[in-house]
Subunit: 371 residues, 2 copies
């Protein structure tokens, strides 16, 4: 197992078989790789980041963490890299190897099947490139593996692609609140009939399960974040940054537990505050001693036509709250990893709403699960 700079065991000591069953197995499917490769915003950003900054690649040694189909490794080779190590944990590595060959870069790109924490490279590298971002940036906790790779294999003056990442939240409006509430109500109504019928026809009283069933369904319908492609006009207040990451220096400890105090002013006229949208952006800036010639940004902010496969994560409130332009909120945001599965997250929003006059409107605290 690889070392890590802060003593936290990579992959949080999770059993490899369980981690595969819960997480890695999806990445072994070509269909899933194709979905990501068909994301034009994602592809454009990485393509431009590499080919508009060839000076970072030409004659250099590169490590691609989680190469998948091999695309970033192949581009790195095409941009003139001297050597590329492309590490992939799943059998997708076999397909990457094939692609490397048919695209004529097998003399440069070496595909290694294995987990980043376990593999040994023959040398340190000048560049670590990786597309590690999950929903709301940190879902999947793949950045842990990038940190591990950096700490083991990056030259002291090496650079990270991307170099920086930020997480954003904003208050939003969304029709999903109505939909989920209807689904939840229908499920609870159905449960009620079920309890009656089971008692009547089968002589067993399931009433003592009503509380745990309600908790289970509430968590599923009302407290789990949703994937959504928000339209910019659903963002009803100024977005705020809740986390900034320097990929060159961040440690796993820095991302285990997040906390941020932010504020946002409602910019939409008389509207429904239905909850929060969360998204991220990453930047390719190189490093101070060796900057990018062309800085590229990959953003997953709500967009009319530049949506990505990440969408945004949506955290909904029941009931939603009527707000007016100028109302403002201060929000304490918390995020931790799920105890049952380190690749999943739990977040909390503690929110105080005030009118522009300063008069208190409402406060609430709500916990969500990112599954």
């Amino acid at each position: 197992m690889g070392s890590s700079s802060n003593g936290v065991a990579p992959n949080n000591n999770v059993d490899k078989g369980v981690d595969y069953a819960n997480y890695f197995c999806t990445y072994a499917f070509l269909y899933h790789q194709k979905e990501m490769l068909s994301d034009r915003v994602r592809m454009e950003a990485y393509y431009n980041a590499i080919f508009q900054n060839k000076h970072h690649f030409t004659g250099k040694t590169v490590l691609d963490v989680g190469t998948g189909s091999g695309i970033l490794a192949i581009w790195s080779a095409q941009a003139g890299a001297k050597k590329v190590y492309a590490v992939e944990a799943t059998k997708m590595a076999e397909h990457a190897r094939e692609l490397v060959k048919t695209n004529g870069v097998e003399h440069v790109v070496e595909v290694i099947e294995g987990s980043m924490e376990d593999v040994t490279l023959p040398e340190k590298v000048d560049v670590i490139i990786s597309e590690w971002m999950g929903y709301f940036l940190l879902r999947e906790s793949m950045f842990d593996s990038v940190i591990c790779a950096r700490d083991r294999w990056l030259n002291p003056d090496g650079i990270m692609y991307p170099s920086h990442a930020r997480m954003w939240v904003a208050p939003i409006r969304s029709g999903l609140v109505d939909q989920k509430k209807i689904d939840y109500d229908r499920t609870m109504d159905d449960w009620s009939h079920f309890v009656d019928e089971t008692k009547t026809f089968y002589g067993v009283d399931m009433g003592s399960l009503t509380k745990p069933f309600t908790d289970e369904q509430r968590k599923y319908y009302l407290e789990t974040s949703l994937w959504n492609n928000l339209h910019p006009n659903q963002v009803i207040g100024k977005p705020a940054v809740i986390k900034e990451i320097d990929c060159l220096t961040a440690s796993v400890n820095d991302i285990l537990s997040l906390q941020a105090n932010i504020s946002s002013i409602i910019t939409a006229e008389n509207t429904r505050f239905c909850g929060f949208g969360g998204w991220f952006d990453v930047h390719f800036r190189g490093r101070k001693e060796n900057p990018a010639k062309h800085e590229i940004e990959l953003t997953t902010a709500p967009s009319e036509d530049l949506g990505t496969h990440w969408g945004q994560q949506v955290f909904l409130l029941y009931p939603s709250i009527r707000v007016s332009q100028g109302d403002n909120m201060s929000v304490n945001f918390l995020m931790n990893r799920s105890k049952e599965n380190h690749r999943l997250l739990e977040v909390e929003f503690d929110c105080e709403l005030r009118q522009s006059s300063g008069k208190s409107l409402q406060s609430f605290s709500k916990k969500f699960y990112i599954e």
Copy 2:
């Protein structure tokens, strides 16, 4: 780990954490338990089997393998059992314990959380009751755990509930063939555009992935069995039994690998032979020395209004084959467990179609995955 009568390790030496991630975890959800408890055909069959055969339960000791919510254990107690051991591998056991209490049978029913292969009971039992059947009977391979329980814990003159099980297949017609073919074609067409665009815009030729992508999508759309609720008029030939199981004597070896030669005559007029439907039935007959007073059958055969949550498993052919009334087929049926996951299955149909005159029409061989 428990013993087994034929030397095959229970659960096929699968890692418990992986088995939980792949299989058991669904059963920890109340929503899933409710789905099964809302299956009226299933509930009626077990309810009637027990209460119309109280002589098998009154004053007796019972083991419920995979008790889930505890329903069968509670019914057994209500039918007069002296003692019921209700074993459940997931945290659902806590809910079962609660239900046992609120239904006033806690002096009889002892809920034990653990896997059947691991738990130790204080005594042997007179009855083993279990609802272990998966899609097409054997998906989930839960019967292995029932066999293990029987070999360890059933008294020499004890009885099994259910006592017998049968698997059936029949030729069918189904509009799903058209739907799945359209989905498959669309995916392949989309792939073709994807390869062109990735080459044009991003300079990487993904053409060498076309074959593995095709294999992956063919398996997914065309070679994986589907859950369906067949209408009886979709059954176009006489159904045939491909496996009979005596739950008192069957070994794991008996169900590891199935093979059967069957024949079926087309009963529908000029129609499309689209593939096979597979289903099962179980019976509650007691045993020769101690028979049921009222034999109950639970069938999952295609039915207009008595469908179950099991539906049937549908194995589709591309293209479908035009057949006439009186045409007949001889089919060699094979079934094995998936190497990657012992709870999933692979089947093969080797089929020879003839006209009623004896003239050969067509033969084919097709393999399917039950995922």
